[in-house]
């Protein structure tokens, strides 16, 4: 079904009642594959499509979503404060200055690993569900408490994977955990909807036989492909300035993320940016790879 831009309603249209938010987790097992970059981009992309979206940092003790979103100086209260009842939800939520539909929910820098209590998280998510269309959960790396809590309540999981052996193996592990340890699995509900987001893909290296192809990764993990984000200089530029990469209109990575968001909303989109960049004659002779 094609979702209309704007709030999620049923039946669709102005007359419909608001639907509770869909919870989407971005997870990977392995660190450094682009979970936070992707969470920021997907959340901003959904907001650009008119959906009221909040992105939550689950990486307690290693807060970074605030930096990627460019709101690190506006953090006063955090996720753990709200879970513990020390702050109200609206005191901790940070409204994005570039898009009114987008909110950032930063986490705490505490070293207490167990601060993320499951019943507390559930209470906060239930409160958020009423006022948002999408809740994006940015998972920490690993398969410890924080990562399990981030994926536990998910309706949809986006598995962020690099075309590289250790990332693919860890993705497979996380897919197994989603199938057995998520709330939907434990309560025998419909399984979590799982998508593959292939990031840092380099068409140049694939052509040389130096990198796993899209089909290789799809076949090994056997989950549907949500998008392919090419390795792109614009990702580092975006993180330098605290801008979700989808706000950089000229960026191939930003365009690829917007395509992925469209597919998440049920709109078919052709895959793009899968051909190696054409180099000039002299660069191809003397340029470095």
């Amino acid at each position: 079904m094609r979702l209309r831009p704007g709030r999620r309603r049923w039946p669709p249209g102005e007359g419909g009642g608001l639907l509770p938010a869909k919870i989407i987790v971005l997870t990977s097992g392995k660190g450094g594959v682009g979970k936070t970059t992707s969470a920021a981009a997907v959340a901003a992309g959904l907001a650009m499509r008119g959906h009221k979206t909040v992105v939550i940092d689950f990486d307690v003790g290693l807060r970074n979503l605030d930096l990627i979103m460019g709101c690190e100086r506006r953090v006063v209260f955090d996720f753990i404060n709200v879970i513990n009842g020390d702050a109200k939800l609206n005191q901790a939520l940070i409204r994005d200055k570039r898009n009114d539909n987008l909110y950032i929910f930063p986490t705490s820098q505490t070293r207490d690993k167990d601060a993320l209590k499951r019943d507390g998280v559930e209470r906060v998510l239930d409160e958020l569900k009423d006022s948002f269309d999408y809740i994006i959960c940015d998972s920490p790396a690993g398969i410890e408490h924080g990562a399990i809590t981030a994926l536990y309540f998910a309706d949809v999981a986006v598995i962020v994977t690099n075309p590289e052996v250790s990332s693919v193996r860890d993705s497979d592990r996380i897919i197994g955990i989603l199938a057995s340890k998520s709330r939907r699995a434990e309560h025998n509900l419909d399984p979590v909807e799982i998508h593959l987001l292939l990031t840092r893909y380099s068409p140049d290296r694939v052509e040389k036989g130096e990198m796993l192809t899209i089909d290789d990764v799809k076949e090994i993990l056997s989950i549907p492909l949500l998008g392919v984000v090419p390795e792109s200089e614009s990702v580092l530029r975006a993180s330098n300035t605290g801008t979700p990469v989808v706000f950089d209109e000229g960026s191939p990575a930003g365009q690829a993320y917007l395509d992925a968001v469209a597919r998440l909303l049920g709109e078919p989109r052709e895959l793009r940016f899968l051909r190696p960049e054409r180099r000039g004659f002299f660069r191809s002779l003397f340029g470095r790879a």
Partner: protein, 121 residues
Amino acid sequence: MRLLDFLFPERRNTAAIARDRLKIVLAHERASAQAPDFLPALQKDLLEVVGRYIEIRDDMLRVNVARAGDTSLLEINVELDGAVIKPVGNGAAPANPKPVPVAITVAKPDPTSEPPWVKPD
């Protein structure tokens, strides 16, 4: 150096190696992740029973569940190479009380062959 690479290509498709290694390791890991919880207890009991007749070390008995398509296969491997037969029980003293080395030879699996549940393309 690009020009030299072009004139003297040394092409090795490392991506294909990566793909094949991943397929094998994930086939193993998925099988063991789906293994029933009773396997360690079963292994302990089997060790006790087999240990009444043959002196074996813990690592000489392995229990596995392998999967090929819809079929599950419970594999119990007992390594007898170098194992020692114990005197037979029943109260009566055995004719030869001295432990004898077992003369059973077990066909070792060919390490180069793939496990049975890894299907070729």
